[in-house]
């Protein structure tokens, strides 16, 4: 049986990759994908710990996270479409309307 530490290490690697993607990428779609990567790394950690302790709580929680992530993507993609329509661009470095 694969050790829990391995899953956690994989989860950390995935999270780090996702975080790097969010910080570095300029295309919001790719940022979204990176966010998904982070969410799924968290899911992986949850599932790993659920298996470790023999509880189903973590696994059920993962379902919620997946559901929420799907909803978030739906809203996020809609926003990206709306932004593209107004600015003809989806480069997130062009989007700094909230500058103080």
């Amino acid at each position: 049986m694969v050790q829990t530490e391995a899953f956690i290490i994989l989860s950390m690697i995935l999270f780090a990759l996702g975080a790097m993607g969010v910080l570095i990428r300029r295309n919001p779609i790719l940022v979204f994908m990176a966010v998904e990567l982070m969410l799924n790394s968290a899911n992986l950690a949850l599932v790993a710990f659920a298996r470790q302790w023999g509880h189903s709580d973590g696994q059920i929680f993962v379902f919620f996270v997946i559901t929420v992530a799907a909803a978030e993507v739906a809203v996020g993609l809609a926003l990206i479409v709306a932004i593209f329509r107004t600015k003809q661009s989806i480069n997130i470095d062009d989007l700094h309307l909230m500058e103080g």
Partner: protein
């Protein structure tokens, strides 16, 4: 019959309602309707008074205290002070109610004619009704405070009626309203005395009630009644009524006492003395009697375990109750001097004649001015127990009688003569109260109400006739001023010449023009002058007989003073009244108006006739024993000898009636007739006023100095002008100058205005702009500067926020992990 007394509150309510209707709806109603409302209210009041008289008659003249319905009587309740609207139905109050409402009703009828055409007709009737309501409240009160409410109320109505014609032209309006103010101010001085007296009474006795329920007023009288009234010297209305009740059998008595009927009238009396009452359960007069009976160091149970002695503690001073009584009576006397026009406050009454004649007649002759005498009679126990105070009361009364009579000798205004005569007669009453002749004072008050009301209304009729004559005179060349009535008051301004319809110098010879007025006036004169057998003879003689008894038989100085000086005043009364008859009615007309004068209409003459008849008969309500056939047996119409006195006996604790003094009666008669004869010799035969418009006494060098003093009203008003009015004016002017020069110019302009400006500019510039604005603006600048620094953190780039987020997470994680690493 117990329930009949419960109508007592109506006696205040009915005229109050009449006044209310006339105040609110009156101006929209016709004259006829207004006068009907006013007169009906007054007539119903008289009816209630008559029913109360019947009640007392059936109830053996025992007083009863009636609680008004709905409000349950309580007015003020503070600690031990309990003031209630209780009405006291006893012989004294019902006597006052009866004659006041009777005279009042006649004057209402008279006013309906006299005030015809006046612009404020409804208001006049409303005032009259309001006056009647307050008068009834005054006499029916069972404590000093409610009495004082009535006292002030009648004073207010008096003020309103004196100044009723405040808007007359040619300065007459000013005179009227000044007269009203004078009355108000003089009465204020008196009311101050009444208030002080009330404070002292409350302090001394812990209550202001005259008598409490179940308290016997006159123990002697009640015990005599309980014994079946065997005293044959009191064969009176009382005993005839008791006899009648017994004749009619037991069913005439109260149902609850029917089985005890065999005991006779005594069975009706629950108590015949006050032994069952603690001091606290008694009114002020009962307490006075008990406290005065104590020895030097004795004490008596006050009730609720408190002991009371003769010593009264006021602040740090303590003095004997007799001294307290002197103070109370003297302060009450000040009130009497105001209301009943005694020295030194009488000056308002002659000026009060500025009001319409019916008001003069009702308020300033018959009823209101007797309120002071009523209060003194009510307070007879106080007077009885303080010789010093009653001596002063006697002196004031006698002095007033003399001064009033003397001044009346030199007056030309028909109403002014009567006004000073009223002052003089009120002096008689107060003197009577001073010597302890309380029933005599009440008797004279009643007879005086009738004949003085008659004389005033007669004078009103004369004035009316003169004005009519004056209009007739000018109606010839002016377009029809022949309508009579009081609208001439405004028209008077159109006439070129000044004409005073009240000046007796303009009259003369009215005897044939106004026969009804003339004959009723003569009857009133005889009654006032005390000519047998008219009312004034009996009442004045009663006072003089009492003075005779006190002065010559008991040998007290005050009685002797009263006897001698009151006879002198009576002589003056006869003299000035006959002078007036000669000037007004006899001789030849001295003015065109008098030639064309005519008799007044029936609404004015009918009350004159009724009052003239009354002025003859009213004297027989109190005929002393021993006059034999000289009273024609007419006293039997009113229930026998001394019936008024016997009636009042149950309300006057210190009751006392004098024996008839034949010598005195003959002497006063001779003096009166002689005075009138001298007057007719001086003023008769067309010599009433000489060609220069002078009084014969004025023209004669030997009497001129004395006459001019009387004419100048003994300089009384001038002295007041000098002593009070002018210094007052000067002080007022001084204060005004101080106000203008110091307060306004210096204090207001310099200190307040400039100081305020300086302070204002200091506060506005350095303080407000510098400190306060600076603080507020500085705050704004600080916030803006800080925000300018902070906003640079907000780049708007998502990435930056994400980095921040991650850094934050890292920091949080590190913080969370730190304890683990250490541990």
């Amino acid at each position: 019959m117990q329930n009949l007394a419960l109508i007592a509150p109506l006696i205040v309510l009915i005229p109050a309602i009449g006044a209310f209707i006339n105040f609110t709806l009156g101006p929209r109603l016709s004259e006829r309707f207004v006068s009907i409302i006013g007169t009906t209210a007054s007539g119903l009041t008289f009816g209630v008074a008559a029913l109360l008289l019947v009640y007392l008659h059936n109830n053996f003249y025992q007083p009863v205290i009636v609680n008004p319905p709905l409000i349950n009587g309580t007015w003020i309740s503070i600690g031990t002070l309990e003031i209630s609207w209780q009405l006291r139905v006893d012989t004294l109050s019902v006597t006052m109610m009866f004659f006041a409402s009777l005279v009042g009703t006649l004057i209402h009828i008279y006013s309906a004619g006299y005030m015809h055409g006046d612009a404020r007709y409804a208001r006049f009737f409303a005032y009259l009704n309001m006056f009647l309501a307050f008068m009834m409240l005054l006499v029916s009160a069972n404590n000093f405070v409610v009495m004082f409410v009535g006292w002030e109320g009648v004073g207010l109505c008096s003020y309103l009626l004196i100044g009723f014609w405040w808007d007359r032209s040619r300065g007459a309006g000013w005179r009227n309203s000044n007269a009203a103010r004078k009355a108000m101010i003089a009465n204020r001085v008196g009311d101050f005395g009444v208030m002080i007296a009330m404070f002292l009474i409350f302090w001394t006795f812990g209550t202001l009630d005259f008598y409490k329920p179940n308290e016997v007023v006159n123990v002697n009288a009640v015990q005599r009644l309980a014994e079946g009234g065997a005293d044959d010297s009191h064969s009176s209305l009382l005993l005839t009524s008791t006899a009648a009740q017994e004749d009619h059998g037991e069913e005439a008595a109260d149902g609850e006492h029917a089985e005890e009927g065999s005991h006779g009238p005594a069975a009706h009396l629950e108590y015949t003395n006050n032994d069952h009452l603690a001091l606290r359960q008694m009114g002020v007069f009962g307490q006075t009697d008990r406290l005065m009976a104590l020895g030097e160091d004795e004490t008596i149970d006050f009730g609720l375990g408190e002991m009371r002695g003769r010593t009264i503690q006021v602040g740090q001073y303590s003095f004997d109750i007799s001294l307290m009584l002197v103070l109370i009576v003297l302060f009450l006397l000040l009130g009497v001097a105001g209301k009943s026009a005694q020295i030194p406050l009488f000056v308002w009454l002659p000026d009060a004649m500025a009001g319409p004649t019916p008001a003069s007649s009702l308020i300033h002759a018959a009823t209101m001015v007797t309120a002071g005498v009523y209060m003194m009679v009510r307070s007879n126990v106080f007077l009885y127990h303080s010789d010093v105070a009653s001596f002063i009361v006697t002196l004031v009364g006698v002095g007033t009688a003399l001064v009033g009579g003397f001044i009346a000798l030199g007056q030309f205004d028909i109403k002014r003569v009567l006004a000073y005569s009223t002052v003089s007669q009120l002096g008689f009453m107060v003197a009577a109260v001073g010597i302890g002749a309380y029933p005599a004072a009440m008797f004279h008050m009643i007879t005086h109400a009738f004949f003085k009301a008659l004389l005033f209304m007669g004078s009103g009729s004369v004035i009316h006739g003169m004005e009519h004559g004056h209009h007739h005179l000018h109606g010839d060349h002016k377009d029809g001023h022949d309508d009579h009535g009081d609208d001439h008051h405004d028209e008077k301004a159109h006439h070129e010449e000044e004409f005073d319809p009240q000046d007796m110098r303009n009259m003369g010879g009215l005897r044939h023009k106004m026969p009804v007025t003339y004959w009723t006036y003569v009857i009133g004169t005889f009654a006032l002058a005390g000519i047998w057998p008219f009312a004034g003879f009996w009442s004045k003689d009663e006072i003089l007989a009492d003075a005779w008894e006190v002065g010559l038989i008991r040998g007290e100085l005050k009685g002797f003073i009263a006897l001698v000086l009151l006879i002198a005043a009576a002589a003056m009364t006869a003299f000035y009244m006959w002078r007036q008859i000669e000037m007004v009615f006899h001789g030849k007309a001295r003015h065109e108006a008098a030639k064309h004068a005519s008799e007044s209409n029936w609404m004015m003459t009918l009350p004159l006739i009724i009052l003239a008849v009354s002025s003859f008969f009213v004297g027989f309500i109190n005929v002393p024993s021993g006059v034999g056939i000289f009273s024609f047996g007419l006293e039997n119409m009113f229930g026998g000898l001394h019936s008024l006195a016997d009636f009042l006996e149950f309300s006057i604790a210190k009751f006392h009636i004098p024996a008839f003094q034949p010598v005195l009666a003959i002497m006063t008669m001779i003096i009166g007739v002689t005075a009138m004869f001298i007057a007719s010799r001086i003023y008769g035969g067309g010599r009433a006023v000489n060609k220069a418009g002078k009084d014969p006494l004025e023209a004669d060098a030997s009497t001129a100095p004395i006459w001019s003093i009387a004419n100048a009203r003994m300089y009384w008003d001038n002295i007041y002008e000098r002593v009070f009015v002018q210094p007052f004016t000067r002080v007022a002017e001084g204060i005004a100058a101080f106000d203008w020069n110091i307060l306004h110019d210096y204090f207001h302009d310099t200190i307040l205005y400039k100081g305020f400006n300086a302070l204002g500019s200091f506060l506005s510039r350095p303080v407000d702009l510098g400190i306060i604005d600076g603080a507020v603006n500085g705050m704004g600048r600080l916030v803006r500067g800080t925000a300018g620094l902070l906003r640079q953190a907000q780049t708007g780039y998502v990435r930056v926020y994400a980095v921040m987020l991650f850094l934050g997470v890292v920091v949080v994680v590190v913080l969370m992990l730190l304890p683990m690493i250490r541990g």
